[in-house]
């Protein structure tokens, strides 16, 4: 068979491609990630205002309506404009390269899905400038309060919010169809299901959840929009409607949504621990399958967000059972990672530190999760800062840290340069300390009875709030070494070889950065299971020749 040859030089593609309608998944991936971090900064700024307000008990920083709009937009931006896009960015970069495909199944659909994001992003941001201000009832938008529309205008912050979320749903479904088709249909020869990297398994699981769950949110949101602008009464008791119905529609999607967020991060951990422990992933098959058990269970737990809502007691008990069960496949993964680390040869690089820190935070969050699943406890802490602490531990403490780990790990591959270790470790330290300082105090606050979404609170809550705010400001600072690192490494970092981490995987058999069509027609045949550290087997046929060709090309490049 013909091998891919790697010509020493090629004309460098223009940077303007990142601002165009480009169908290369690797370009789209970078577009998603950079755009997502732009919105991360906006969401972060909103968080600083929130914590600035909450550093004192009184509502003295901003007007209460402003506070409510800000906390609502903080959550909405962070979810729909940061975390889902950044994960789609990782999917775009990693899925085709990890499975040996030249691109995604539907490249133009891919680009359309991306370009919807800045569109609905602008739409959402514009809601700050309409007369009534942005949506103000939290990212949940529970009726009736969310559609009270004090000014009565047709174009309201809430209406813009609903439209933006609907567009986000369209974009996500497009992406999901693409990712699922790609994974099912475009794997390299020899890559059966159980030779596929775990990241692809978790991506498949997560995107399946998007496909099944998103339409429920869309349906509920359409009905809410109709209640808001068309005078229907789906959720208005005066017209025979039921506010709790919205909650079912909302959470039927939004609970699986949290698995959409964490599953790829589980995938990242599963990819990185073997590399930086030089050891195979422990129980690879179980880790892969556990992803789908999580999918199944994840679809039947949504009422745990509604325990105090006014649902029947049998529902509370049933959903308590199903929710607790999710701890089991999740535990399988956690123990698998520990098994991978055990007796490994650990290298505490920046990506590894972020994974370890993420795992630490995740286990803590898992425990508070069990507490929240327990109905009598939840009836006390639901809608308090205990919940806010829990989910920020998962989202920031685990998911965001996992995303940072992924970025540091795959930056050399897709940008072609090495990020700076010193800045990376500083970033990790500030993030780990900042996140724990910010979110740990929220647990005693919730237990003591401080509700969430409040613009003011009783003085006895002041101490922990001050600590939390200090942690938040530290987190704000922590982003600086990250941005510095990304920008300077991109522009003038040391050039990366094709496999700086000495990792096993198809993407590491491509040059850094890969050509537009990755392996093109010359996809290597996969001949062994993934994560074969210490087993001394090649991953693909003719691996030695491929490595040789890559090294030769790099040497020629350096000689230039």
């Amino acid at each position: 068979m013909t091998l891919a040859t790697f010509p020493a030089s090629e004309p460098k593609p223009s940077w303007t491609r990142y601002f165009s309608f480009n169908t290369d998944a690797k370009v789209i991936g970078i577009q998603y990630i950079v755009l997502a971090f732009f919105f991360f900064l906006i969401g972060g700024l909103l968080a600083m205002i929130i914590r600035g307000e909450l550093i004192t008990p009184e509502a003295d920083l901003v007007d209460r309506t402003v506070y409510n709009g800000i906390y609502t937009m903080h959550g909405t931006v962070m979810l729909f404009l940061f975390i889902f896009p950044v994960l789609n960015g990782l999917n775009n970069l990693l899925i085709p390269t990890m499975i040996g495909a030249p691109d995604m199944a539907f490249p133009r659909l891919n680009a359309v899905a991306f370009w919807l994001v800045p569109i609905f992003g602008v739409l959402l941001m514009s809601s700050f400038f309409v007369p009534g201000g942005p949506a103000y009832s939290g990212w949940w938008s529970y009726p009736p309060v969310s559609i009270q529309n004090p000014l009565g205008h047709l174009i309201s912050g809430q209406g813009l919010w609903l439209t933006a979320v609907a567009l986000s749903g369209v974009s996500s479904i497009m992406g999901a169809v693409n990712f699922v088709t790609t994974i099912i249909r475009m794997r390299a020869p020899g890559m059966g299901w159980f030779r596929m990297p775990v990241f692809c398994w978790t991506a498949l699981a997560a995107q399946s959840l998007q496909l099944i769950g998103l339409p429920s949110l869309t349906g509920g949101a359409i009905m809410l929009l109709m209640d808001l602008v068309a005078g229907t009464t789906f959720y208005d008791p005066a017209g025979g409607g039921d506010p709790v119905l919205y909650q079912h529609f909302f959470w039927f999607y939004s609970h699986p949504a949290v698995y959409v967020i964490i599953l790829p991060v589980f995938g990242v951990f599963s990819e990185l621990f073997p590399v930086y422990a030089r050891k195979p992933l422990f129980g690879y098959v179980y880790v892969a399958l556990a992803s789908f058990i999580i999918v199944g269970l994840g679809l039947i737990v949504w009422v745990h967000h509604m325990f105090p809502s006014g649902v029947a007691e049998w529902m509370r008990n049933l959903f308590m059972f199903t929710t607790m069960l999710i701890a089991v496949p999740t535990g399988v993964k956690v123990f698998a990672w520990l098994g991978t680390l055990w007796r490994g040869k650990l290298r505490l690089t920046t990506p590894m530190l972020f994974c370890l820190g993420g795992l630490f935070n995740f286990v803590f969050a898992g425990i508070t999760g069990i507490m929240l699943a327990t109905v009598p406890i939840d009836l006390h802490v639901s809608n308090t800062y205990f919940v806010v602490g829990h989910f920020h531990y998962v989202i920031y403490g685990a998911a965001v840290m996992g995303i940072f780990a992924a970025i540091y790990h795959w930056f050399p591959k897709f940008i072609g340069r090495m990020p700076y270790e010193g800045l990376g470790k500083l970033h990790f330290l500030l993030t780990f300390v900042g996140a724990n300082l910010n979110f740990l105090p929220m647990h005693p606050l919730g237990l003591m009875g401080m509700p969430r979404r409040v613009s003011s609170y009783d003085p006895e809550f002041a101490f922990w709030n001050v600590l939390a705010s200090l942690g938040a400001f530290l987190l704000g600072v922590s982003i600086i070494p990250f941005l510095l690192n990304m920008v300077s490494a991109w522009v003038r970092g040391p050039k990366a070889t094709h496999n700086p981490w000495n990792a096993i995987g198809l993407e590491w058999l491509l040059p850094s950065p890969p050509a537009e069509d990755n392996f093109g027609e010359h996809v290597p045949v996969v001949i062994s299971r993934p994560y074969g550290y210490g087993l001394g087997q090649p991953l693909v046929e003719h691996q030695a020749e491929i490595e040789q060709a890559l090294t030769l090309a790099e040497q020629q490049e350096t000689a230039r």
Binding site: T2, I173, V177, R185, P215, T232, T233, G240, F249, A515
Partner: protein
């Protein structure tokens, strides 16, 4: 980076693989789309069973005979679209166009029938949850029927482009799948709204 240009038969292999991708992707999309109908259906059922007075004042029930005729028309159109596909598989392009056009006509009649029914109703979109869910369900479904007719129009036009269907008919397959989907949704909707009229 590839060195050699792909060979011609590799290219048609590539195209064939891509066809399968397209159909896979479309099927996945349809599965997802069905969930939004499921959401609306469950909303309808929940609101209906928990309502004290489900029907708006002055409304005794829904007239079901005309919608039943409409349903027969729509279900038949699934039959005709199947026949159209069969004709195409046999290579009979004009046979395909004939059945295809018939399907479009039946779909168009369905939409007409829906509009006539809507105009004859004594309640509106804002007449309580009954009115809201009725128009939401039938309207959203009608939108899909209209989309289906639109897709069929597109495919019909494409069928006049020479050589268009010699290699494959994935557009026709997808459109046909969509049409069957719309049909099944209607059957469920009909049972839910017109058959199940007492609580």
């Amino acid at each position: 980076m590839t060195s050699a240009y792909p060979a011609p038969d590799a290219e048609s292999q590539h195209a064939e693989a891509h066809e399968k991708h397209n159909l896979t992707g479309f099927i996945i999309f349809l599965c997802s789309e069905s969930v939004i109908f499921l959401a609306f259906f469950s909303g309808y059922a929940l609101l209906k069973t928990s309502a004290l007075d489900w029907l708006p004042p002055g409304v005794e029930g829904l007239e079901w005979r005309m919608p039943l005729i409409n349903s027969v028309v729509l279900v038949s159109s699934s039959g005709t679209i199947y026949l159209a596909e069969r004709a195409m598989a046999r290579g009979s392009l004009w046979g395909f166009r004939a059945f295809w056009l018939l399907t479009m006509a039946l779909g168009g009649y369905f939409l007409y029938g829906q509009a006539v029914e809507w105009s004859s109703l004594q309640f509106g979109f804002t007449s309580g949850t009954f009115g809201g869910t009725f128009y939401l369900l039938t309207g959203f479904h009608g939108l899909h029927v209209a989309t289906g007719v639109g897709l069929m129009t597109l495919m019909l036009i494409k069928s006049f482009i020479p050589g268009n269907y010699s290699g494959g008919e994935q557009g026709v397959q997808a459109t046909s799948l969509f049409w069957h989907f719309v049909d099944v949704i209607w059957i469920i909707l009909f049972v839910l709204i017109y058959v199940w009229q007492r609580s």
